[in-house]
Symmetry: D2
Subunit: 393 residues, 4 copies
Amino acid sequence: MNEGRTGVWFVGARGSVATTATVGLAALAEGIARPVGLVTAGSAFDGVPLPDFDDFVVGGHDVDETPLVERARRLATGGMIPAATVEAVAHRLDAADAEIRLVPRTARGSQRREIGLRADDIRSFRERHGLRRVVVIDVASTEPLPADRPEFHDHDALVAALAQDGVELLPSSTLSALAAVTGAGAPYACFTPSISLGIPALHAVAADAGVPIAGQDGKTGETLLRTVLAPMFSSRGMRVLSWAGANLLGGGDGATLADPAAVESKLASKNRGLHDLLGHDVVTPLHIDNVPDLGDVKTAWDHVHAEGFLDTRITLQTTWTAYDSTLAAPLVIDLARLLTLADQAGLSGPIAELGYFFKDPWGSEEHAFARQADELVSWALRTAVRRTTAQVA
Amino acid sequence: MNEGRTGVWFVGARGSVATTATVGLAALAEGIARPVGLVTAGSAFDGVPLPDFDDFVVGGHDVDETPLVERARRLATGGMIPAATVEAVAHRLDAADAEIRLVPRTARGSQRREIGLRADDIRSFRERHGLRRVVVIDVASTEPLPADRPEFHDHDALVAALAQDGVELLPSSTLSALAAVTGAGAPYACFTPSISLGIPALHAVAADAGVPIAGQDGKTGETLLRTVLAPMFSSRGMRVLSWAGANLLGGGDGATLADPAAVESKLASKNRGLHDLLGHDVVTPLHIDNVPDLGDVKTAWDHVHAEGFLDTRITLQTTWTAYDSTLAAPLVIDLARLLTLADQAGLSGPIAELGYFFKDPWGSEEHAFARQADELVSWALRTAVRRTTAQVA
Amino acid sequence: MNEGRTGVWFVGARGSVATTATVGLAALAEGIARPVGLVTAGSAFDGVPLPDFDDFVVGGHDVDETPLVERARRLATGGMIPAATVEAVAHRLDAADAEIRLVPRTARGSQRREIGLRADDIRSFRERHGLRRVVVIDVASTEPLPADRPEFHDHDALVAALAQDGVELLPSSTLSALAAVTGAGAPYACFTPSISLGIPALHAVAADAGVPIAGQDGKTGETLLRTVLAPMFSSRGMRVLSWAGANLLGGGDGATLADPAAVESKLASKNRGLHDLLGHDVVTPLHIDNVPDLGDVKTAWDHVHAEGFLDTRITLQTTWTAYDSTLAAPLVIDLARLLTLADQAGLSGPIAELGYFFKDPWGSEEHAFARQADELVSWALRTAVRRTTAQVA
Amino acid sequence: MNEGRTGVWFVGARGSVATTATVGLAALAEGIARPVGLVTAGSAFDGVPLPDFDDFVVGGHDVDETPLVERARRLATGGMIPAATVEAVAHRLDAADAEIRLVPRTARGSQRREIGLRADDIRSFRERHGLRRVVVIDVASTEPLPADRPEFHDHDALVAALAQDGVELLPSSTLSALAAVTGAGAPYACFTPSISLGIPALHAVAADAGVPIAGQDGKTGETLLRTVLAPMFSSRGMRVLSWAGANLLGGGDGATLADPAAVESKLASKNRGLHDLLGHDVVTPLHIDNVPDLGDVKTAWDHVHAEGFLDTRITLQTTWTAYDSTLAAPLVIDLARLLTLADQAGLSGPIAELGYFFKDPWGSEEHAFARQADELVSWALRTAVRRTTAQVA
């Protein structure tokens, strides 16, 4: 079914994840990459009418001016993605690069105006390409958690403050989310741990978005493993006493997370699911270290100590090694496809079942991965039916 | 609801698993151990009418004469179970020991007669204690896989051969299974990889058992982990290329599995689930080494190599360390409780949902652990309802 | 050669290390333990005249009043040391306990007076038992590093301050070291990372001790491994780029090291040797986490990333698991024996070759373990000869 | 000091190790690679007069006709070596390729004639380039160990058999070694586990070679680690009870070692050093698995179990991951340099100190790595002096 093309607007469009996703989407569209690592390419999604890879047009915002093809070549040099693939899709990268708009680090006038300018970019992208919709996905660097403010709890005060020139109240992730959801009426996903729509005064905005939204903080590696393994211990009645973790990574992400302020939001969402899944107090020391020489290869070591029958000691160690951005990129493409489906079916507000992709699911308390996977598939099938009905009606 | 007491008859009643289970059951009955490591003690089973720990009477068969309390003390010395617990339940161990009957290593007369003698032991145990039922669970050492024989495929020929004195056709695990199921009408579970009812000519016997049965080969450690992790890779579209494993253990099990003939059946069932779950060819080298100095502590290292998006390399290593018998023992108690429930509800033949406990489930092709866990809970609730109906009727 | 008995005076005599060492020394003296884990029991020391295990008399200082036999039983319950061994040497533990003197947490009067009182305890122990010498070994909990003070750099000012009542200038480890070295003329070793004689104004005291001294911070587990492995990378020309570490432990040590102030001195000495051995800048993130459920079992994970030929990536991960106190205790006995030898040979000041036992060797820059081992053996042989000469003369 | 150029003749000149070494030597000569991973580039060798990288001319034997530059490109595609480096030295690879002579898989006439033909190739290479000497290094694939034969123990019978046409008595590694040592008078090193000069009847030939020789079986990864770690346990009096290992690798080496006959010689030399170093019986299960998807990246997991003080359990796990050929290649270059030095100094027969490079040192029983490293450096300095004397005289 041809529905017209769909836009994907990356917040952080020249970062590692967006660059990898853009290269990957281009390579899939060209038929020179296989859809390995994509959830929606699995047989469980057979028959679900999702956009083809070639149906997407890519654009976005960034604070950096380095051309996308240049960023992609750096990733290839670091061994993250194949150099031949980058060259084969260079023309598509240039086309995407032409759709990236610079955003300044501070608001242009009031923050309300900044939101408007960002929304304008999205709308104009949609019109320029005659797109049916634009899905906005935040894959920018992790921001520090903002200090709490009275306006964060009072919608009217917040609105008033946003109108004032020179008041820097909201972090950039929130501005982008509002530009997408309230400004441009665009489906939105927050793949980062940044606060985005998590400001209490914006909860109602999120709930009544009028477009489908999903978040937050992509569940790619260590946390994925944890939400797979923790239910095993619970089901078998083994009592987990501690779950310690060490994360080593370099690259831009390593440097960002070396900042204790930025890492705080990350650590919080990494541990939250674990506590929920195990259902009792458990000791969970967790560290993220910036190790520049490792580049974008992330190594995570976990040590789990559980008590078994008759006070016996059970330990499990896991060491996970992967390029973090190539774990994230296909999930971002999955989200673009599934939010398109959700939008076609007329859904709005937080889509609980997309919690499958996130450390900190919006609209859901479920963290157990296998259960999330079943719910996602079932949701996709239901939504496919609903979409048909919606289109007939 | 008091239903009378239930017998548990261990094949291999003086082995490590049975000894640990008997100590544990006694400690639970005395209220000096917590039900950690038991599946059926989880909140998911709230309201399911399972026998209390004190409702069980233990007996069994073994080829060894060492008193149970002596075996338990050796396990305590090796650090497997607490010495204080053993001493606190010594009187219960002595009582169980008095209910253990020796079986010879070769049949007493024909194998049919041997089956009959073993069944007599079970029946007489039931009568002596006025038990409503006896659940038979095979936790004996792994046998070598028997060489194939024409009689294994021809029920009549098998029956005829069993009647002949001096013909040693069936391995001991099969004799015990037949003694339980056809001889004593006892619910039966095979917790070992030994062939038991896996002889083709006996498939009909298993299917028409008239009692609930379950098997086979307890899923306790490395294989448990594998059936938890493999569905994660599949759901996320990561293509597992190889899954290699090294198992180190000492103790009696280590020595048994150092015999290449005995290990064959073990390795086969360890890899089977993995191939099923991943759905494509995958390289799975697997070794079990006897390392006597490690005693009953088993260490398993797995190395998984998967392909991710854009040909990226993902590796996961896991190291699992635990006392194998204290992983197995609570599951054996779970099986005794759940087979009692099944029998009360009038179920017979292989119970597919008990496949949750096994590497090689009877009556089910499902290996994915999380799905098995959901199915088990749902089955227990359904069976609880059915049991009530059966009892009213 | 009978030389009379030797005293061992433990600072922290009721802590885990001292308790384990006292139990072990008693068990060795009784002939019910083998000298596994002792360096000086190796064949390389054949012919070196070291005191027999039964030649030692144990006493010490502590702030805690729990009887030694009670502390030992707790360690046995935690699985650290065999319960049977504790009971078999209970009478020796009681005898040692009777020789432990309480020290208050703040000085009794001036710190000079406190030093004097502690020295009195040591001298009176020596006289009471007619000992030839007392070796003092600090195995107390790690102290926070004291903030720098002008008096730390000016010996006269320090002496003046020590004489004033109520001035708490020096930490307890320094008071004990001075009590031993200047007060009681006792050979002294600092097995902890606490500052002890590391105050600049005391460097001359250490150098002119008149008795042999050794330190500091026992090299037992992860650091031992690092100083074994780092020279391999150097010799082979592989360029180590990062060496990250995660340490998990509970017990008293875990709790102490959860205090960021206390851990600071520990982390500093753990990384110092690494930098020296690799000879260039290397990224060395290192964490120590308090994981109470692990008890005294310490697990250390290290991840080493090195560059090889033609920019190739080499990684090494190590996971080390051991009871920390049973690693330390035999080394403490080794030090008691070797400091006795040094004292008999008339040596004084820091013994560089005893740096083999420490993360932060006094009098030596050598950290490479294999070289330290060779130097230690060679020193022991030379000192044995010198001792004979000293005694003849 | 200019001495004329030196030839390096690789047996297996188109295999992964030789290809990597040839690329590396070329890149070092061109100044586009740093000497990382080379032992002889370390500061310990400052002042030792070793040939410059540009002094070497490369040639060799192989059974394969694929051009060297093609082999190098395949390694680059697999991520083993940088593609840019390969292209930058392509002209040097072509030059080396022109010096590679094909050897057939069966002898051309008698084996004596085959030896002669191989020696002719080496001599003619030397003359063609006016080389002062040619160092021959066997880096071919591991051969199966030949079955024992009476001629292997009787030099005269061996000589007689070699003269007979069609008799295939000696494996190819031995033919190449004899061609080098007795035929061409060339210094020789055996970097593989193949039997080479290990035939008993050839021991005298090795001892009286007239040229310096060294072997055997390069100590590159897991065995290197083991000979570094084992002395630590010994020095500290910890009693190693078991040392288990699992090796995963693909590539050509993986396939070769999947052949149980070929792996036998490899496993034997891997375990030999361990037993020597620990000095007592120790359980050492060891497996090498062919895992094609891993390519030339080798992953080795070791699990060490040691007994500490008071029966305490100590475990160490190591996981080592590296491209095996880039570990081996710089050592091969080191050997070419050091054998040149030895030859210049007039040394002949097995050079015990070069045992540093090997699992199974010729002429030495020393396996402890740190001691080997000290002996190597000391030998190089002595030999440098001797070389000067030899040249003056």
